[in-house]
């Protein structure tokens, strides 16, 4: 019984429904944002099945902690994104995830290596490549490391051998560039 009709609600309606524990809130949030959240999760952890499990956990957590969301502190999506990213990063750093990656069987290895080398093509992100290349790569790479790869900005600075201030600046420049593109 898949609901084929996509539900879209305004932010106020979504927050109200979520706080009143109407499941329609989750349906609408799923229809509007599941792909965006999976885009982030699946860039932090692979394979995609695991990323989908985490997406499921994300929505359960959104549902269970809807009351703690404070609209005055930020947008609903930012809150959801942070839940998704934190779950994914927790997974990435968990012992069993590291172990399971060491013990991958051969047929999974191909995908795994592809994922690690970032050579798999995803139809959903092909359009983005154009936009991202329009940005200066040194700016976007820092943002992508933090936003999509699960690095903290401190780790990114270490990885890139850059001062923390430069990392902050690059992140800010990259986001400024994005704002120009999107507005």
């Amino acid at each position: 019984m898949a609901t084929t009709k996509k539900i879209s609600l305004s932010e106020e309606e979504l927050v109200g429904a979520l706080k009143n524990r109407h499941t329609i809130a989750v349906q609408a949030l799923y229809d509007m944002y599941s792909a965006a959240l999976l885009g982030v999760i699946s860039r932090i952890v692979q394979p995609i099945e695991l990323a989908e499990d985490l997406l499921q956990e994300t929505f359960i957590k959104i549902w269970n902690s809807g009351e703690s969301y404070d609209a005055s502190k930020g947008r609903l999506f930012t809150w959801m994104m942070n839940i998704a990213r934190n779950l994914a990063i927790d997974k990435l750093r968990s012992k069993d995830f590291k172990n399971s990656n060491k013990n991958q069987d051969i047929e999974n290895n191909v995908d795994f290596i592809d994922a690690q080398k970032e050579i798999s093509f995803n139809a959903d992100t092909l359009g983005i490549k154009d936009m991202v290349t329009a940005l200066k790569p040194e700016f976007t790479s820092v943002l992508d490391m933090v936003y999509f790869k699960g690095y903290t900005h401190v780790e990114a600075a270490e990885e890139l051998n850059l001062p923390l201030g430069t990392v902050k600046t690059r992140i800010r420049m990259a986001i400024m560039e994005l704002r120009k593109n999107f507005n």
């Binding site: 019984m1 898949a2 609901t3 524990r21 499941t23 329609i24 989750v26 349906q27 799923y30 229809d31 599941s34 792909a35 965006a36 959240l37 999976l38 885009g39 982030v40 699946s42 860039r43 995609i48 989908e52 499990d53 985490l54 997406l55 499921q56 956990e57 929505f59 359960i60 549902w63 269970n64 502190k73 930020g74 947008r75 999506f77 930012t78 994104m81 942070n82 990213r85 934190n86 997974k91 069993d96 995803n122 959903d124 992100t125 359009g127 983005i128 936009m131 933090v146 936003y147 999509f148 903290t152 900005h153 902050k168 600046t169 992140i171 800010r172 986001i175 994005l178 704002r179 999107f182």
Partner: protein
Amino acid sequence: MEEVNAYIESGILELYVLGQLTVQEQQEVEEMAVRYPEVKQEIAAIELAMEQYALQNSIEPSAELKDQIMNRLSDNETIVTATAEIEQVIKPTPVVPIQQHNEYEAKIRILRFALAACVAMLVVSAIALYSAHNELGQAKTEILALNLDKQKFASTTSYLTEENTDLRKIADMADDPDWKVVKLAGTKMDPAAKMVVYWHTSGQHVMVDNSKMALPANDQSHQYQLWALVNGKPVDLGVFDVKSDTTQILLAMKEIAGAQAFAVTLEKRGGSVSPTMDQMIVMGGV
């Protein structure tokens, strides 16, 4: 003002949106946002940009994932910290699809309408059945009445056919010289009595004509008996009844070859061996 701009330029708001700050730093940013609308606006703009960026980098989840999630929500909200591992362990057991609440409600609504429609149809059917039953009853009564009429017509027809046959026989007698018409006249017992007997001399048939009979009706214990006088001796030709509602015209009696006269006596039911002479009511010679 410059202080605010410097704060914005520092890049801390971006890190705030990206969830990179400690709890203490977060509170600091939130306080600044409350105090300075520019900060709040800047945060909102960064959030929108990141939202757009994430949307542009979307990866569509597999089709069945939504139903899985909705099912887990309606599984009475017990799941709070179930980890992906546990999920993977229990995965082989297929999740029993429980209807989503609003879908369920919509179904109940439809079923309610269906129930109302069913009740309405039931009422209409009952009325239709009742009227049909009534009409059937009327039709049955009519059929019974028509059957009765038909039987009446049939009996009338058979009566008329019989009567017609008898009348034709009587009419044919006139053309056949062998048929003798014997008129029997009343004796002193009842001078008003009279009757007619047809006798076929060669065929030996004897018939009594009810239509031309004027005898008083006999009771239950008595019957009239027809006699032929052959060379002075009475010969029994059978008994008959005289009733007011007799339909038959001709009544066949026993056969006789030769007779000089016919007579009728009133005898006990079933007839006697020899006539009771003082009970002779009509008599007539050939």
